[in-house]
């Protein structure tokens, strides 16, 4: 059995335990949030009998342990219950809203890695000179302001004053694209509609930049700090003494060891964007899961809260596993230590 496979098995086992723990925690917390879900679901004009009847139907009068038992039994059957917010099965809501958020987060993640790492390398290579100062100031700015502030600033600059980008939604109203994956950049291509594909990309620009800016700054700063530390290592001095080109030293000898500590943080940032996307989704009217999550919390929609949190937790775990595997792949010492400990 390969060491990477052993790491995968161990992480999967831990993930199952974490998921169970998260489900228990959120199940309890969701019931502590003020507000009677039956009263909220039935609306302000419902009478006491109707509320009592729905409470019974939702098992809200039973002990919390029994309620959790019903929940687990339903989940085992693939049933997350009915959303009181949308009056639809929670699974249907998640299937509809999750791809929108994932598409946004994936594009933001690509920007985070695609811009953050090169900027960090650039700053480290030119430490103490103007490119370094520029990157440090710029990234400090992006890290300091939350994504919703960037969302509003970007909207003002590039949609209101300079109407270059669309401001709301995922696709121009006039396009009708059959839903296959829920990822519009994919579905438009599957439909063979290139102009719709360009339109979907166009809609992604501002929200994904707003969401990614903080992560770009963090990735750049981390990469810079790690690379500067690596540049002080004797083997780099040796490479320099051998007269290797600076680009080769940066790419082959300094970047890879510097990347490993950054990867964990970048992975966590990537997963955290799922939850943090709420305000960006709100500003750009992006019909995603984060916005849905906040809406269901405000309405104390218990089934939808559980479904949303579990999906986000699951995404965190999957990203963590992928990052662990990637680190193990990049760093032989981790592979070997795993083999030794097993």
């Amino acid at each position: 059995m390969s060491s990477v496979f052993r790491i995968l098995l161990r992480r999967l086992a831990i993930s199952v335990i974490v998921l169970i723990g998260v489900s228990m925690l959120i199940f309890a917390i969701a019931r502590i949030i003020p507000g009677d879900p039956a009263r909220i679901a039935l609306g302000p004009n419902a009478n006491a009998d109707q509320i009592a009847s729905l409470r019974t139907e939702m098992h809200l009068d039973e002990p919390i342990i029994a309620q959790y038992g019903y929940f687990v039994a339903d989940v085992m059957r693939g049933n997350l219950g009915q959303s009181l917010y949308t009056n639809r099965p929670v699974t249907v809501d998640i299937a509809e809203f999750l791809p929108a958020t994932l598409e946004l987060v994936i594009f933001a993640g690509i920007l985070m890695v695609g811009l953050g790492l090169p900027l960090g390398i650039l700053a480290a290579r030119h430490r103490g000179r103007w490119p370094d100062h520029l990157v440090r100031v710029g990234t400090l700015l992006t890290v300091s302001a939350p994504s919703f502030v960037w969302a509003v600033i970007l909207m003002l600059l590039f949609a209101f004053y300079l109407p270059l980008f669309p401001v709301a939604g995922r696709l121009t109203d006039s396009y009708e694209i059959a839903r296959v994956t829920g990822f519009l950049t994919v579905d438009t291509l599957l439909a063979g509609n290139f102009s719709a594909f360009v339109d979907a990309l166009h809609h992604l620009v501002l929200p994904s930049i707003a969401l990614a800016l903080s992560g770009i700054g963090q990735a750049a700063r981390l990469t810079r700090a790690n690379m500067i530390e690596t540049y002080d290592k004797p083997y780099i001095e040796m490479a320099q003494a051998f007269g290797f080109y600076p680009t080769r030293i940066a790419r082959r000898y300094a970047f890879k060891p510097s990347l490993i500590p950054s990867l964990t943080i970048i992975g966590l940032d990537f997963a955290a964007m799922l939850g943090n996307a709420f305000l960006v989704e709100a500003v750009f009217a992006w019909p995603g899961l984060s916005r849905y999550g906040v809406a269901v919390i405000l309405r104390k929609d218990l089934n939808a809260i559980m479904g949303t949190v579990l999906v986000i937790a699951l995404t965190f775990l999957v990203v963590n596993i992928l990052v662990d595997l990637l680190i193990a792949f990049l760093n032989p010492r981790i592979r070997h230590s795993t083999r030794a400990s097993s």
Binding site: P34, F160, V198, V205
Partner: protein, 522 residues
């Protein structure tokens, strides 16, 4: 950096070159809440917009004046507690099924059984199909505004709904939460409760439709104020919701947006908990009522010199409704009277601290909370401000001990009749709801409310509500903040006579958004 700009420019150019032209007129509007498509559950503004366009009702409020006109009904007769309606025989549902009396009976029973939305309007009502096109309603007791309440009974296609019912879902709630089963002027093309509901013109509608009416309507949900402003400025939106902050509406108007209005059925009420000291004393309540700065409150909701989200209050009943005072009797701040009432109050202001709550989802209320805090401080009354999310508020008001001293609520008459505005707020049989955090229990108030319901004539009702108004001014369970008017910023692509011409206005919130009556100018 250069590459990013080039990429952005390329994307913009590519999109501009490849965007297809609209083949039909599209109207884009927005609302803050999720739209409830099931007509039996409709209650708020977004739901009403959907309901009034996708479904039809037996009667409609008369445009520009009091009274009700036949709609799906050709005519009706009232005989005490019995109402007999003869249906039009030229109406078909969007499915193609013809309208029958059985559909009306089914719609009523479905609403009553589901028990949500505005089903309480039909408590004690039964219906029977006398023949294919005649339906008779029987009321347990006389209810003068019954015909008015029928504007909230959307008629569903029984055959279609029954086809989609299951053993677990006998009323097809799942189906109707995402699909339409009405006869309205617009059909539902798609419904995403968090994003947008798309409606298309129903070519087979039984009434003539204006040629310039929008072919498609996109009702968007929960757009941020900044987003709406940008969309309108880009020409990508047509009518903004009424819930924009006044300063945003003001900015839009300054940018050239036209302002639509809908008024006359509601007010902003500052509710005082009459079961908690010191507000269990009428003099103390009157002191607060007189200390409230009505003029500043109105300035806070003014859009410009001509248009405002509010007009001066004259009492418990908005101007124009049965029993209301004339507009000249506007309430004004009177600090001398306030101090005199406070003198007569048995409580010492130094001994209490008022809880002033505001609903977290309505930021405007925070400003009123601050205004009241400043106003009451001038009387030497200290207060603290508490933010309550709507869900928590509805739970808190379920018991008088937990109900804040002061709550702020916008209430409107859902049928246009004062009964649906006032009974739920002030009758002693309905305490502890979001409408009635006053916990008022007064025999004279109850008697006037019951007389207003009973009628039978318009003069009887006018007298009953006038007496009610007078009594409510004496008791002061509420500070009557201002008579409310909804203001909508709109692009110049659309004309909406029901929202701009008082002679064409309906007296029911949301009905001004009857899209079949709107005109697209481009």
């Amino acid at each position: 950096m250069n590459k990013s700009l080039i990429l952005a420019a390329a994307l913009t150019a590519a999109t501009a070159l490849t965007s297809p032209a609209f083949a039909q007129t599209v109207l884009r509007v927005d609302e803050v809440a999720v739209g409830e498509l099931d007509p039996a559950k409709a209650s708020d503004y977004a739901d009403s917009i959907l309901m009034f366009n996708v479904y039809d009702t037996l009667v409609l409020p008369r445009q520009g004046g009091p009274g009700y006109d036949p709609h799906l009904a050709g005519s009706w007769e009232a005989d005490g507690a019995n109402y007999t309606f003869t249906l039009r025989d030229d109406v078909t549902f969007q499915s193609g099924n013809p309208l029958r009396a059985a559909d009306v009976v089914y719609s009523l029973e479905r609403m009553q059984e589901i028990g949500q939305g505005l089903s309480h309007l039909f408590t004690g009502v039964t219906a029977e199909a006398v023949d294919e096109h005649t339906v008779r309603f029987t009321l347990d007791e006389p209810y003068a505004p019954f015909v008015a309440s029928l504007v909230r009974l959307p008629i569903v296609d029984q055959v279609l709904v029954a086809e989609n019912a299951t053993e677990d879902d006998p009323w097809a709630e799942g189906y109707l939460s995402g699909n339409a089963a009405g006869s309205g002027a617009y059909t539902v093309t798609s419904h995403n409760p968090q994003d947008v509901t798309v409606m298309a013109l129903n070519e087979g509608y039984f009434l003539p439709i204006n040629d310039a009416a929008p072919d498609q309507v996109r009702l968007r949900y929960s757009l941020e104020a900044a987003t709406v402003r940008t969309l309108l400025s880009q020409g990508e939106h047509d009518i903004a919701s009424q819930w924009l902050p006044p300063e945003v509406i003001r900015a839009l108007a300054a940018d050239g947006a036209q302002l639509f209005t809908e008024s006359g059925t509601g007010a902003f009420y500052v509710k005082m908990n009459t079961q908690r000291a010191p507000l269990d004393d009428v003099n103390c309540r009157l002191a607060l009522s007189h200390a409230f700065d009505y003029g500043t409150a109105l300035q806070m909701v003014a859009i410009n010199e001509e248009v405002s989200s509010g007009s001066a209050p004259t009492g418990a009943i908005p101007v124009g409704m049965y029993g209301s005072n004339p507009a000249e009797m506007a309430l004004e701040r009177d600090m001398d009277a306030a101090r005199a009432y406070l003198e007569a109050c048995p409580y010492d202001p130094a001994d209490f601290n008022l809880e002033i709550s505001w609903i977290a989802e309505v930021p405007l209320e925070e400003r009123f909370a601050l205004l009241m805090q400043a106003n009451f401080a001038e009387l030497g009354i200290s207060s603290s401000i508490e933010t309550l999310p709507w869900a928590l508020f509805t739970e808190r008001v379920a018991s008088p001990e937990n109900t804040p001293h002061i709550s702020q609520i916008f209430v409107n008459a859902v049928t246009g009749d004062p009964d649906t505005l006032l009974f739920g707020m002030y009758h002693s049989s309905t305490p502890g709801t979001w409408q009635s955090p006053e916990y008022l229990a007064d025999d004279q108030v109850d008697a006037a409310l019951e007389a207003g319901r009973r009628g039978p004539g318009e003069e009887d009702r006018e007298a009953a509500y006038a007496a009610l108004n007078e009594r409510l001014m004496e008791l002061a369970p509420t500070i009557y903040g201002y008579d409310r008017q909804s203001v909508f910023a709109a692009s110049d692509r659309v004309n909406a006579p029901a929202l701009s011409d008082p002679a064409m206005a309906f007296g029911v919130d949301g009905m001004g958004f009857s899209f079949r009556l709107m005109e697209m100018t481009e």
